[in-house]
């Protein structure tokens, strides 16, 4: 534990989380959907920590989404329940899913193929418990899921709703909102996804298939919901706990809402090529953004004229966008704070997060890794 330290004393590179900003982000998302009358099932994949999950669920430790089996087990062991493993059921993990389904009050799995459903049917749960199964449908996102127009989706829903499995919900991820620029484009994706999911659940109802929950999600759409989303039962965004530069560019949030930084120190001055080196490479930041930001791989907090032009494993190269670097402004050993392009990716590089209030470390959070 390093509580009580000033952030300036942290060994770099260090991933810091501003707790006040996190709490504000979480509160705003929670209130937004409380006002709409829609349940929030926050996704844990961005932070992967018990503490973050605690904040996102308002302390209930109930109703979450995870993307890996390692997360599912970690949160279950941490006292969480009502966990949705929102990933096309992997054929190698059925036994472990069954163990979780038998242990927890509510462990939900997700399928988008008859083959996956057949695996569940072949492994009924003990004591007559039924598998809670979500159907993943694809509403113009083009990743996992049966297309909402595909008759096979309806057939699969019916098959889920019989025997040892029950249809717990219909799930659509609007990852296509990550290609948006600005609120109108985000809301257009939100509207389309909502409409298509609800059309699908209406079709189900007409066929006499009960489906308790329709859920969509992504941080952009849930940051700017359209009124039609009030007809959904649940939403499942995740990144909003931290936000990041990418989200500011999409239009999900403003820069003041980004809760995370990578602190790094200047380790070299190279005036002959107008460049300084910092002690953060791709092991500390990831290569996301692919260097395509006007400021390279990240924003340098408070220094809009600096550009992180490249990284190797443990080195970052910083230049000025215009004119000569004023090296005296960045002495060897001085701190810079990088604002990550993609918080999920940057968090994934760190074994520990330093959680701060007003520049003081108040806690360390340890994320679960692996699968």
């Amino acid at each position: 534990m390093l509580s009580g330290q000033r952030v300036e004393e942290l060994r770099t590179p260090a991933f810091t989380v501003d707790l006040d900003v996190v709490k504000r982000n979480v509160q705003q998302m929670t209130e937004r959907f409380r006002a709409l009358g829609v349940s929030l099932r926050p996704h844990m994949k961005t932070h992967k920590t018990l503490e973050g999950g605690d904040l996102m669920t308002g302390g209930s430790r109930r109703r979450i989404v995870v993307s890996t089996l390692a997360e599912a087990r970690f949160f279950a062991d941490g006292g969480f329940d009502d966990i949705l493993y929102a990933y096309p059921l992997p054929f190698d993990k059925v036994a472990e899913c069954a163990a979780l389904a038998e242990k927890l009050e509510s462990f939900h799995v997700l399928v988008d193929s008859p083959e996956a459903l057949a695996l569940l049917k072949r492994r009924p749960l003990h004591q007559g418990k039924r598998w809670k199964v979500w159907l993943k449908i694809d509403c113009e996102n083009n990743r996992a899921g049966l297309r909402h127009t595909d008759p096979a989706a309806l057939e699969l829903a019916k098959a889920i709703a019989t025997g040892s499995t029950e249809l717990a919900g219909v799930y659509a991820h609007c990852g296509n909102s990550y290609h948006c620029q600005g609120v109108p484009e985000i809301q257009s994706v939100a509207q389309t996804t909502t409409k298509l999911v609800l059309q699908f659940t209406e079709k189900l109802q007409k066929e006499g298939v009960p489906c308790p929950v329709a859920s969509i999600g992504s941080t952009p759409t849930c940051s700017h919901p359209v009124p039609e989303m009030a007809q959904l039962h649940e939403v499942h965004p995740g990144n909003y706990i931290f936000y990041d530069v990418q989200q500011t560019m999409i239009g999900s949030c403003q820069l003041k809402d980004v809760a995370v930084r990578v602190l790094t120190r200047v380790i070299g001055h190279y005036p002959h090529r107008n460049q300084l080196l910092v002690d953060c490479g791709w092991t500390g930041l990831s290569l996301h953004s692919l260097g395509q930001l006007p400021t390279g791989y990240a924003l340098v907090d408070g220094h809009p004229d600096l550009k992180l032009v490249g990284m190797t494993q443990e080195h970052g190269r910083i230049e000025s966008i215009t004119g000569q670097l004023d090296f005296a402004q960045f002495p060897l050993g001085s701190l810079l704070a990088l604002i990550p392009y993609h918080a999920c990716a940057t968090a994934a590089m760190h074994p520990v997060y330093y959680v701060c209030i007003k520049g003081q470390v108040v806690a360390t959070w340890k994320p679960i890794k692996g699968w």
Copy 2:
């Protein structure tokens, strides 16, 4: 421990290491420099494991390079000694470096500025021990180091060689060999770097500054050394323990020399867009290659017509390069093996490596993370 399992039984995504290939890679590099009469100081940054270090040092656990303080402490705690922390001395880590220098027989640090040297002078080691300090020079690589032509480099070498510090060596990293294509280009970089480093150490000698060791390194140059390298004292490559697709493209090795894979399973078929999904996203592979390979983000072992066109956090999207995918060839749940573009980057995403001989898991290795 999962020893005894077949690799096909591993939960995916899984990072596998072919121990026979590792041993061959290590043996070839060792014999290559034994024949040249040059000491090998292998770099630990690619694998970051005690077991890998053991193999690369032929069991001596002596004479290694590391890139982070966390690695330095991990290997020191694991019984390694003669450790060179080949990174421009970070101003926040001097106390911890001093502790290692006092504990180990030989802990070496590296500087490329008078300011960093001044920090060492202000913290003399206990019992009259002198800091072993390497001077980093830049021989056309354009990352860290004083330029070999810069008079300040000579001045810094002289200052290192007095008082509580001693000049342990001159270090140049030929990272520019990563821009090469083919052996002649690699050897040209090797020749230039060797020549410039030796010119610099000759200048030192003329000025009466003793410098015991001249060292250069990078896996490409050390895979194809030029005869002039016999005049060096040490080389410090690292990636060669695993090699990767990038190294095959540079010309350092052949595909049969790449010891690592990421095993992944098919989790979805989407014939309407001629695509399948696998359970490996950027958390399992990294975004290195930036998707620029003809086969996308990786090679799919044994399937030259498959292209990993994109990844999100836990999903990879695979297409065929020509014509329609034969989905029957890749049933749901079946295994594919991705050959990573950059082994250092892919290894960095995994908390455990599955070490195999002929498809049988014989050990698990756990790398050190963080800084």
